[in-house]
């Protein structure tokens, strides 16, 4: 058996297909992106090495800061609006409500639907003349509030964010709910014996127990926001006049519209570095919190 488990040929047979596939399709292309980001290149003629010029241009590009700012607002909205709603729902459900499973399943339904369907549906919700939103406002006698949600610079960004927050409330709820359900009965029983009330139960027992899951969910919410693409690409294409542009969309436009491959690659590299930095940052913040 020892010999069979050291058999070089067998090891290669088991590990090489996955390793080659992964390295060739996921890992090496990242390095390729790094190389492209140092070029001035339209994808047709020979690329020209320009050093860090794309990155310095990026940092001085008002449109990029605009897009980056939008993705950060989305991250903020996810963490400070979406996650608290998810947490509230999870804590109510965990508390044992009649129809607990039904509610949980209903809240979760939008999560499994593709963002392309959700985006196209919300496009109809926002339709200026016949959309669900303006129709509802009209029925409520709030015609003054009716608005061209996706077509106005003052509302396009928010209008793109609402369906994203809406779609994933159920996901984060599920994460909190399932980790709260996994808390051992001993801990809960001990707290009950000590006479903890509902509020104390949630804040002093359950939430501290699920901090690792909260950390994971904050990281998912932030990274998902920084990389957001699908919903905005369908709803507004970043418009009107860049009002809802985000970095991924800017990268896409730089590849397929203006054909600035080098610049687009610099944006791609910026996005993954940014995501890494935020992941480490969140881990540090939570590390502090857990140590307190």
């Amino acid at each position: 058996m020892e010999r069979a488990l050291r058999d070089k040929k067998a090891i290669l047979f088991f590990v090489l297909p996955a390793l080659i596939w992964f390295v060739a399709i996921a890992l090496l292309p990242v390095l390729q992106s790094v190389r492209y980001s140092l070029l001035k290149w339209d994808g047709i003629t020979q690329g020209k090495y320009v050093g860090l010029a794309n990155y310095t241009e990026l940092l001085g590009d008002g449109l990029f800061w605009n897009a980056l700012w939008h993705s950060l607002i989305l991250a903020g909205a996810s963490v400070f609006i979406q996650l608290p709603i998810s947490m509230l729902l999870a804590m109510i459900l965990v508390n044992g409500v009649k129809g607990e499973t039904l509610y949980r399943n209903i809240f979760f339904v939008p999560v499994i639907i593709s963002s392309s369907v959700i985006a196209n549906l919300w496009m109809k919700v926002y339709h200026p003349s016949y959309g669900l939103l303006n129709t509802l406002l009209g029925n409520l006698g709030l015609t003054a509030w009716q608005h061209e949600w996706l077509g106005s610079t003052d509302s396009a960004l928010i209008a793109c964010f609402v369906p994203m927050v809406w779609q994933y409330i159920g996901y984060h709820m599920l994460l909190y709910y399932s980790s709260a359900k996994a808390i051992s009965e001993d801990i809960l029983e001990a707290a009950r014996v000590d006479g903890a009330n509902k509020r104390q139960m949630v804040f002093s027992i359950i939430i501290p127990q699920i901090v690792p899951m909260i950390k994971a969910s904050v990281i998912f919410a932030i990274i998902g926001s920084l990389k957001s693409f699908d919903m905005i690409q369908i709803l507004t294409k970043g418009g009107p006049v860049h009002a809802s542009e985000v970095p991924s969309l800017m990268m896409y436009i730089n590849i397929f519209t203006t054909r600035r491959y080098g610049y687009a690659s610099a944006i791609a590299i910026f996005i993954i570095v940014e995501c890494l930095v935020f992941t480490l940052l969140v881990q540090r913040v939570f590390g502090r919190w857990q140590n307190d």
Binding site: M1, A4, I11, G96, I113, N120, L174
Partner: protein
């Protein structure tokens, strides 16, 4: 006070305020989907004036036949099935093989190879979109243009989950099989794969959701209409029929049904899988 049999963490009654809140959120989560389903069965006259929210007065099932005859919905669904099924099978097989070598076999670089896969957890499609678009030019008019990256990006999490699972399993069965003279390839197929079945189903569900719903690469890599998957296909169709809301609604509903049916059948497995994927994320 009535105690519930299931694990009720706080053992207290729900206040009416909480119930109202839950019902309100449930309505907000479901209403757009209800509305979509309703307008998929109406004509524009009803949607735009007479009856925008209620049940259809004249049920327009024709909207549904239209997306299959005039639109290419059947083809888009088929493409999604081909791409998703291939992605799931290849991800399961390759990841399980790599997992076996990493966890059970004895070689020096095992830890390093595992860490290389883990790096993948931090990558995103954004970082490889342009290079792959260039590298995969020769196969951009095949299903492989999507299967290759979908599998590559599904493997890191799959391997992470499977390694955790296999490490926790006892080795006795394998040892017995070796004593009985089974060779390592057969042992993998007859013993390891069945033992990993629970985690394989988790990975299959996670891979199904991510590849069935993937939009960005599908948008960029597939330009011929006959190869489009549902996410991009339905988006095109909505653009083509943008004034015929009933047809749009039917397209969106059909694009949603496969995942909804899956969810109805496997809701417990799906929610457990996603929660598990997150813990190990």
């Amino acid at each position: 006070m009535k105690m519930k049999a299931n694990k009720n963490l706080l053992k207290t009654r729900t206040s009416p305020v909480m119930t109202v809140f839950l019902v309100l959120v449930a309505l907000i989560q479901l209403f757009p989907l209800y509305w979509m389903f309703m307008f998929s069965l109406k004509d524009n006259k009803e949607i735009f004036g007479a009856n925008p929210m209620g049940l259809p007065r004249a049920w327009q099932w024709g909207n549904y036949s239209k997306i299959f005859t005039a639109g290419n919905m059947g083809l888009y669904l088929l493409n999604s099935v081909i791409v998703t099924a291939s992605t799931i099978l290849l991800t399961l097989l390759l990841s399980a093989m790599a997992t076996y070598a990493i966890v059970r076999m004895k070689w020096k670089l095992s830890k390093l190879v595992y860490n290389i896969f883990l790096v993948g957890m931090m990558l995103s499609v954004q970082a490889v979109m342009l290079p792959l678009y260039i590298n995969l030019q020769p196969i951009l008019s095949t299903h492989w243009a999507l299967i290759l990256p979908y599998v590559a990006f599904a493997m890191p999490q799959a391997i992470l989950l499977m390694v955790g699972s296999l490490e926790a399993l006892p080795k006795e069965m394998e040892e017995a099989a070796f004593i009985d003279g089974a060779n390592i390839y057969r042992l993998f197929y007859v013993i390891i794969l069945p033992m990993l079945a629970p985690i394989l189903s988790t990975v299959a569900i996670l891979t199904f959701l991510s590849s069935w719903n993937e939009y960005m690469l599908a948008l960029v890599f597939i330009s011929t209409d006959k190869l489009k998957t549902v996410t991009v296909g339905v988006n095109d169709m909505v653009g083509k029929y943008s004034t015929k809301w009933g047809v749009v609604g039917a397209g969106l509903t059909v694009a949603t049904l496969p995942t909804l049916i899956m969810y109805a059948l496997l809701s417990k497995n799906i929610t457990n899988s996603l929660a598990m994927g997150a813990v190990k994320g």
